[in-house]
Structure formats: structure tokens, C-alpha cells
Amino acid sequence: MAAPESEEIARSTAGARDENARTPSRRALLGWGGAGLALGAVAAGGTAAVLNTGDDPAPAAESAVPFHGPHQAGIATAVQDRLHFAAFDVTTDDRAELIALLKEWTAAAARMTAGRPVGEGAVGGPAEAPPDDTGEALDLKPSRLTLTFGIGPTLFEKKGEDRFGIKDKRPAALVDLPKFPGDNLEAARSGGDLCVQACADDPQVAVHAIRNLARIGFGKVAVRWSQLGFGKTSSTTPDAHTPRNMFGFKDGTRNIAGTDTAALDTHVWVGKNDDKGAGAWMAGGSYLVARRIRMHIETWDRTSLKEQEDIFGRDKGEGAPVGKQREFDAPHLKSMLPTAHVRLAHPDSNNGVRILRRGYSFTDGTDGLGRLDAGLFFLAYQRDVRDGFVPLQRSLARSDALNEYIQHVGSALFAVPPGVRGEDDWWGRTLFA
């Protein structure tokens, strides 16, 4: 990591000298803060160079994830530490205005994921105008920010109305999710015409991204709901250890690896012929299920260790399946209780169906009754929810022993279009163009 680090510093000090730089990167702005700051960074870089002489498998926290590509970043990308997810209602009826917004959003997203401020930045603009960028990410690294854009069923049709002339392009896979037993969904935390998932290793970078997109969107879209997540609960790099959820368990050990292109093609990316009528525009995309799952933390904490482990079908310390030694040992499903979470969620219990999970833990403080308002913000990508999340959740909702301790309170489904191909491409082009 030594070389890129030094290069960044070199660029930042160059930026400090070049007063004509029109759109300075965050780092360049850092440089403007003063020579002392830049020198401090150089010294830090030097230290890093000495320490990091060996191979460093972990992605550097400051690195930027490429925005352009055949698939959107933020799906197969190694899961970052933090999340800010937002669902939007489109408030304009004007198709051209919506398209203009999507182009503006795409440009802003490309800049922010590269660690640059929006528009003309947060400082240095006209004194009388609010800055284009809100500024709280100014001296922060790109932090592997990814912004992933999705489209909800209501953009195609709402109350029987074809709002933007795209009703006949609604993919069959973009279903209205059925009501699952035990759901207690709040309208104000569900649905949405559009969504943006911001993942980053720094929470402020993720929050900044959604805040700026919301700001650009005022008058065309309105934030319907949003969710912060602080601890990833699954990993798309399964050779790394599986993170724990708020119940203290490793869950989702069998997640699809972001590098497993065969599994991604089979289970995650939409194929060209998946939806003969409407879905061609979705080729290379995916479907995202978002569920806010409240966990009843206090009652769980009063549950005996044995029962906790039986409910999951894993031991709590190692994360090994029942009767096994290591976390990644193949589970023997029949030795688990029939209601064990792992047994019910396992592909072998679901016709081999696999979904790519990248959910996050959340806590939104307490709920007014002194109970922790916490849980799992479940995010899962799949090729078709009709043989993915829907049957899986039906089975879980029916039998999962965990249901006593959880409740689904928010729900949404989005079609996540293919990646933005280049500078002239934009979020949703394959649908609208």
C-alpha cells in the first residue's frame, strides 16, 4: 500500500499548489488546510510504508471502489463497515425531470465514490450561495464508498396509473411481496419508488452521500424513509470471518463470495433472457430485498445459551454448525432442530436457492419503553425473488424458532439496474432511454 499512499500525498500537495484546480479532491482540499497538515500526512504515509512491507490482503480503508462497470458496485463488492440506506418517493410527474435527476444523481455519485465533493465543492464557491457540497466528508478518504441505485414497483405503476410510461417494462420478477406471517410492517418504513444504498467504511462518508443526493433531489423526490447500519452482519469475502449479528451469532456463513463469478451469475445477476417481455433492460442487474427486522434484544439476552444455540443451529463461540468443530464445516441439517434457523435457511432446505446477503445491524436508540430499538437491516441481492427470498422467507416465517425474538417491521423490493458503463451512462438509462 506504500506506493499509492505516497502518490496520493504527492497529488494532494500538488493540489495545494495549484490554485486553479477547479474541482479539488477531498485530499487536495486537505492540502489547502495548511502545509503542516500535508506534512503530517506525508509522515504518516512514511510510517505506513515501513509497516506495510508484507502482503496486505485487507482492502485499504481509504481506497475508492470503481463506480463504472457491467454491474453496480455495492453488490459483489466486499461488504463495507457502514450503511446509510434511503428510499425515495418520486414527487414529480415529469418524465424528463426524473431523467434529468437520475443523470444528476449519477454524476454526483461518481464524484462522491471517488472521494470528491459534489458539484463545485463545499468551500471556495460564491459567499452568498449555499455550497454545492455539504462538506462533512471533506477531509475524509473515499472509504470504499459505493452507491447502489434501485427502482421500486411503484415507479412503474401506482394506484393503477402508468406514471412515467414504463408500466409495460415492469419486470415480472419485481413482484409485490406477499404478506408473510408475523410481519408487522410500517408503511413509513416500507416501499419507495427509488432507493440508494450507500456503503462505506466510514459512517460519515455514507451519511454524506445520501444527504447530498437527497438535497439534489428536493422537489423531484422526497425521502420516504432511511436506515443507518453500523455493523455488517454478513461478508462477501467468506474467507474472512463471518461477522456477528446483534444476538451475538455468526449467521450467513454460506454467503455468496463476491469473487465467485459462477455463483453470482447463477444466483445474483439477472440474465439477458430472464424476462422475455420487460426485463431485457435488467440484464446485469439484480433484485434487492430490504427488510427492517426488529430484534427483541432483552428477551433474547434472558434466553439460556443452550436454547440460543438450538435456535440458530450453531454454537455461539465458534459458529460451528451443530455437532461440528469449525465455522465453515458443512452443516448436518438433520442433527439440528427442525425449527433451527440455519437448517431452515440453508440452500439444501430451499431447492439450492442462494441469495447474496449484505445486511447490517442497526440500533436507533431506545423505543420509549426503554427497550433497545435494534435489529438487523436485512439486505439481499438475488436474480429472482420468486425463487429466492419469497419461498425462503415463507419457510422461515412459518417455522423459524427465531421468530419469537424478531419481527419484520419494514419491507421493500427494488429492481437494481445494471452498472453504469461510462461517463455518458446514467442510473436507469436502460429503462428510460
Binding site: 414527487t91 452568498e128 450561495a129 422537489g219
Partner: protein, 378 residues
């Protein structure tokens, strides 16, 4: 909400200073050496100013808080018009304040504990400040807006007197009926009224905005008596007289307010800020639930300032004007849905979902409105 309003007032004057100063003057500020600054040494019981006389133009105050309490420093023009201010200067910390001042008498105040009138020092500014050269169209807009502001105050007085009269005669129903209309002129021009700093806390403070030991006066105290206590006390009758006195003060001073094209534009935005933070939540009129009357008045006041600035804004940023026209029309239509008789429905009957829609509508207007000042600043 006093602190917030003071900050708002400061924003107007600072914006005004910047406009008048232009770009050249801005770099002059940056170049002002420490030697040129007026040293203000604040402590818990003193406010020492290194120079009592300095030339007009840009002044830089180098504040040092040597006291044990958090302090704030204000520069007041005559009539307690806030020229600039800086809050939250912690013990042992320094802060720099810049402002543009014309010749005249000013007061510099330190407020240990950020309360009260502060410890004041009289200072004199001499010579000639750099006068701003402005597009005559903008001068015309300011003059027209000043007339509008005065007219709102003039027309408010009789309505406020009707309200005060009903309170004094103990007529609960008549007072309730006269309450919301008596506030419309104030709400239309609130940022200008607030620029005086001392009137607003007397006439428009809410229960949660009171400082320890501050007597609650003004409209909202009477609102609470009428709707929550459902009776008019002897003290309320005195407060009704006090309200008229304070509003007369406003009426007499409002025409002298410092108004610039950018302060007009920012004032319009601030009216929408008022709606966004206080009205859509139902906090402003928590007893009477007449929030939508204020809401409408805030929007009307903002639209007036916008319409006057529009010819210049249109030249500089036609896309912005197009968007603002559209959003002012949209918010008007949204408000129309809640009209009832010659007023509006009670805000406690507006559902959470409908409040969300109103809030979205305000954001849709306020975001482009925040760009108006820049469009008229050149």
C-alpha cells in the same frame, strides 16, 4: 428560540456586508493582519475593547474569552440592530468576528453565560465606509420591499389592537378569532423584525424559548391562556397592552431596518426555514393549531421578496427562476387543500402523512430558494 433567531439576524447582516463589500473587499478581510483587529477581552464581569474608535469599512474583532463561562459577542448598531455576532465562545478560547460598518455609534457586547443584554462598550466608527454600487433594479427592489415591510407593520397594528381589545374585555371567543389574523403581517416579514433582536423575544417567544427568569410575554403566552387555560387573567390583560406597545416599537423601527437584495433573498429562505422547523411540526401554534395561517403568511412574505428580485434573478439564473415559479405555485396549491372559510383547518386535524407531504413541499421550494441570494448578489 432566541439563539436561533439571533443567528438568523446575523446571517442577514453578514450577507449584507459581503454583498456591499464585493470580491475585492473580501480578500481585504483575509489580509487584515492581527495588528488591525480590535481586541475584545471578555471575562465573566467585563468586556474590554482595545479601541473605542476605528475607521468605517471592514472591522475585525479578535475576541478572547478569559472568563469561566461560555460567552457570545455582539456588535449592535443603534436601536440594537445586530450588525454581527458570534456565539459559543468557550472559556479560554479565541474567536474572530468580521463585519462591515459604516460611520456611526455602535455597541460591542459580551454576554457571559450567553444571557441577557450583556456587558456593553460604546464604540464610534468614523470616516466613510465603502458604499456599495448596485444595479438600480436592485435598489428599486429594496425600496419596494421596505415599503412592503412597513405596510405589513402598519396593517398589523389595527388587527393586533382588535385582538388586544378582545383580551382586555375578557371576551375569550372574540380573542381566539382575532388571534391568528393579528399575526399575519408579522409572519410575512419576520426576518426583518428579527433583525432588531430585541422585539422578537418580547412578542413571538414560545414557552420553550424562555430563559431562566425571563417573563413570558407576547402572542404565544396569550395563545396559551386562550386555548389551554381557557381563561383570561388580569396579567394577560396587561400583556395585551404590552404586546401593542412592542408592536408599535416594531412599526416605528421596521422601516429603518438594514435591507439589501441578499438579505431579502435570505430572508425569503428563512421564512421557509421557519415553516420547515416550526410550522410543519405544529410547534409554533401548539395551543391554537393555527399553524397553517402562519405557514401561508411565511410563504407570502417569501414570495413577495422573490417577486421583487425576480427581474434580476431571471437575468442571472433563468433556470432557478423557472424552478421557483413552479415551486411557489405548487406550495400554493398544496395549501389550498387545507383552506376552510377565510382561514385554514386546525393543524391538529392534519394527518402525519399530510404533514410529511407539506414538509416535502417546503423542501422542494426552500432548496432552490436558498440559491436566490447568489443569483442577485453580483
Amino acid at each position: 428560540m432566541r439563539a436561533l433567531r439571533s443567528a438568523t439576524a446575523a446571517a442577514i447582516t453578514v450577507a449584507a456586508a459581503l454583498t456591499a463589500a464585493g470580491c475585492a473587499a473580501k480578500s481585504e478581510v483575509a489580509g487584515t493582519g492581527k495588528a488591525g483587529a480590535v481586541q475584545v477581552t471578555a471575562s465573566d464581569d467585563a468586556c474590554e475593547v482595545s479601541r473605542k474608535e476605528f475607521p468605517a469599512g471592514h472591522v475585525r474583532l479578535a475576541v478572547e474569552n478569559k472568563g469561566s463561562k461560555v460567552t457570545e459577542v455582539y456588535v449592535y448598531a443603534p436601536g440594537d440592530r445586530i450588525v454581527t455576532e458570534r456565539e459559543n465562545i468557550g472559556p479560554g478560547t479565541k474567536a474572530a468576528i468580521t463585519a462591515e460598518v459604516k460611520a456611526g455609534a455602535y455597541e460591542i457586547a459580551c454576554k457571559p453565560g450567553m444571557k441577557g443584554d450583556g456587558i456593553r462598550q460604546k464604540v464610534t466608527v468614523t470616516g466613510k465606509g465603502a458604499p456599495a454600487k448596485r444595479d438600480p433594479k436592485l435598489d428599486a427592489a429594496v425600496a419596494e420591499y421596505r415599503k412592503y415591510v412597513q405596510r405589513q407593520a402598519d396593517e398589523t397594528l389595527p388587527k393586533a389592537e382588535e385582538f388586544a381589545g378582545a383580551v382586555k374585555s375578557g371576551d375569550l371567543e372574540a380573542a381566539k378569532k382575532a388571534y391568528a389574523p393579528s399575526r399575519i403581517g408579522w409572519e410575512r416579514t419576520e426576518p426583518v423584525a428579527e433583525s432588531f433582536g430585541d422585539i422578537d423575544p418580547k412578542v413571538d417567544v414560545r414557552a420553550d424559548g424562555l430563559e431562566d427568569g425571563q417573563k413570558w410575554t407576547g402572542w404565544h403566552k396569550l395563545e396559551q391562556s386562550l386555548w389551554q387555560q381557557k381563561k383570561i387573567s388580569a396579567d394577560d390583560k396587561k400583556l395585551a397592552d404590552q404586546l401593542i406597545k412592542d408592536l408599535e416599537d416594531w412599526q416605528q423601527r421596521v422601516g429603518k431596518a438594514e435591507i439589501t437584495p441578499t438579505s431579502m433573498a435570505n430572508g425569503a429562505k428563512e421564512l421557509l426555514d421557519e415553516v420547515y422547523t416550526g410550522k410543519v411540526t405544529g410547534e409554533e401554534e401548539r395551543y391554537s393549531h393555527t399553524d397553517l395561517v402562519d405557514f401561508q403568511a411565511n410563504v407570502e412574505g417569501a414570495e413577495k421578496a422573490y417577486e421583487l428580485l425576480k427581474p434580476v434573478a431571471k437575468k442571472n439564473d433563468p433556470a432557478l427562476v423557472k424552478e421557483l415559479d413552479k415551486q411557489f405555485e405548487a406550495i400554493g396549491k398544496q395549501l389550498d387543500e387545507y383552506r376552510e372559510g377565510d382561514g385554514f383547518v386546525a393543524y391538529d386535524t392534519v394527518s402525519k402523512g399530510d404533514r410529511k407531504d407539506l414538509s416535502d413541499g417546503v423542501s422542494a421550494l426552500a432548496e432552490p430558494l436558498s440559491k436566490l441570494a447568489a443569483a442577485v448578489a453580483e
